[in-house]
């Protein structure tokens, strides 16, 4: 909500351009929604036949810096406040509710190519690079314990490995004033990880998240 408000405020402002020329250093902040596209293997035995997992989408604040080495080429380093994803059952354990939450904190480094002139107010861009998803602080539920044979005294926990994956993105920036800009982008990261239960079983899964990002930037 706050993000949307700022976004609108920036769009309403007016002024000249030149925000995106060689040497420009833009600090940006905004919001993002990460929607994993999950394809999990069956949980290893012992387990119900066809036990799988799904990871739901989440939203969080993101921010970062973009440095222009030329009028068209820029490098962007973005980090995010942790996304809190719900982990739910699929396959044999579909419909059993939330089994865990896991915090994901992506850090991405992308090279971006900007179309149009440095002075253009509207500049589409494409980017490619890598994203490191730091997966941590998973919190399992009573349902996961029950399904996996844990108890309240010895609950089952879920750990997911942090992984690095390639990212591509497309987006566009609107330079509202000489210093202020707004941008929107859609990125796709190819990411595989491993989930392990404290009861010993594990599963491999692709997360392959799609990230939709809005942000406002200020040029220093």
């Amino acid at each position: 909500m706050k993000t949307k408000f700022l976004f609108a405020a920036v769009l309403l402002a007016s002024g000249g351009a030149f925000a995106q020329s060689a040497g420009s250093f833009i600090v940006h902040a905004g919001g993002a929604q990460v929607s994993p596209d999950v394809d999990s293997t069956d949980l290893t035995v012992p387990s119900f036949v066809g036990t799988r997992f799904d990871v739901k989408k989440a939203s969080a604040f993101v921010g970062g810096v973009t440095y222009f080495t030329g009028d068209h080429l820029s490098f962007d380093l973005s980090v995010a406040a942790p996304f809190k994803h719900d982990v739910v059952g699929a396959g044999a354990i579909a419909g059993t509710g939330r089994l865990a939450t896991v915090k994901s904190q992506p850090i991405s480094l992308l090279a971006q190519y900007r179309f149009g002139e440095a002075s253009s107010s509207f500049r589409p861009f494409v980017g490619a690079g890598v994203t490191y998803h730091h997966l941590s602080r998973s919190k399992a539920t009573a349902a996961l314990s029950g399904i996996s044979g844990g108890t309240a005294a010895m609950p089952t926990t879920l750990a997911m490995k942090s992984r690095l994956g390639p990212t591509v993105e497309v987006g566009a920036a609107y330079n509202v004033t000489r210093d202020w800009s707004a941008s929107v982008s859609v990125g796709k990261t190819l990411l595989k990880t491993t989930g392990t239960l404290s009861t010993g079983q594990s599963f491999e899964t692709s997360l392959d998240p799609v990230t939709i990002k809005f942000g406002i930037g200020y040029r220093f």
């Binding site: 250093f25 600090v27 902040a29 035995v45 012992p46 387990s47 119900f48 036949v49 604040f61 993101v62 921010g63 970062g64 810096v65 380093l77 980090v79 995010a80 406040a81 942790p82 059952g89 354990i93 419909g95 059993t96 509710g97 915090k103 904190q105 730091h134 941590s136 602080r137 998973s138 919190k139 399992a140 539920t141 009573a142 349902a143 996961l144 314990s145 029950g146 399904i147 996996s148 044979g149 844990g150 108890t151 309240a152 005294a153 609950p155 089952t156 926990t157 879920l158 750990a159 404290s198 220093f220």
Partner: protein, 389 residues
Amino acid sequence: MTSQLNRVAAASAALLAGLLLAACGGGGSTADTTPQVKITSVKVFGDSIQDSGTFGYKFTVQGADNLIYAERIAANYGLALCNFYSFTGTTFVANTAKAGCTNFSIGGGRITYTGAGAGPTNPLNVGVQLATHASLGSFAATDLVIIDGGGNDAADLVGAYLNIPRDTAAAYSALLGTLLTPTQIGTALGGGATTTAQIGATYMTALADKFYNAIKANVLDKGATHVVVLNIPDITYTPRFQTVLDSVALASGGGTAGATARAQAQATFQGWMTAYNTQLAAKFGNDERVALIDFYKGFQDRVNNPAQYGLTNVKDPACPRTGVGADGLPTYTFPTCTAAALSAAPPVGVTGTDWWQRYAFSDGFHPTPYLHQLTQQLIAKSLAAKGWL
């Protein structure tokens, strides 16, 4: 330019540090085991697989941490169970050694108990257990009720049916007569082998009606809103009834003829249990207060796919046989079948103390603690799907 870059660096560093800090606080995996529904008491009614110690022992391998599935479900809610009844050697009395116990299940419990001391007040009838609770008060919204029954009734019916050649159907007729009319029974038994077998299904359907009515009157109509009911597991998969079926094959001369007779007998018995299970499911319908567990299929699934469930042996009882019963089948002694005793005496050719831990059966008819855990997981899956866990 330098000062501008410094400002940029400072601003960037502040932003990145802020976001990174937001993510910090340790990467450990934890659990919040608060169930979705607050359950403060688990009340259990049924037979041996749910008995917490009416006779001073459990119907599985004995051990301090060898919980039965009902106790494991209770543990999911942070609760423990103890036996409501104690056996005096002749009769069942309230457990005075420990107050507030809510597990009414008794080993040997049946929907219709016809053995020694049978009568309308004997708590070996699961319905009497239910009525006893009903006489003490109603259920609360924070009660979880777990009920099983019918497994021993099905076993009784199988035994009586197989005894027809020896007692001219006396036991079979008597058992059928507890729920069916003499006319029904006379017509069936006079109609030949097919109708004699089919009347068993009619009996099991009536048995499901009887059990449903007892649960409705004493549990659902008494305010219970979280009720777990297990249907009959496929008892033909137990070592005891595998032996019974083997003797059916032998009695038919073994070989192909024996195998055919064995398969027919198993199909008949499974048909009876399915008749009961189908009727029970129909009776409860879509009652949102009830989680009906398909123990029949779940149990078959585990025995048919041992590796999937981490079972190493689904044929042999883990406990040593200690005798032979009047029916010619092996007997076992649970009080002496302890975890320590089993670990100390691995079978020939086996080393290690944990050899028995992934066996499915403790004796010929009852699960090991591990199969209890697998049953708890089966129930938990339904509880989670209901939003109760």
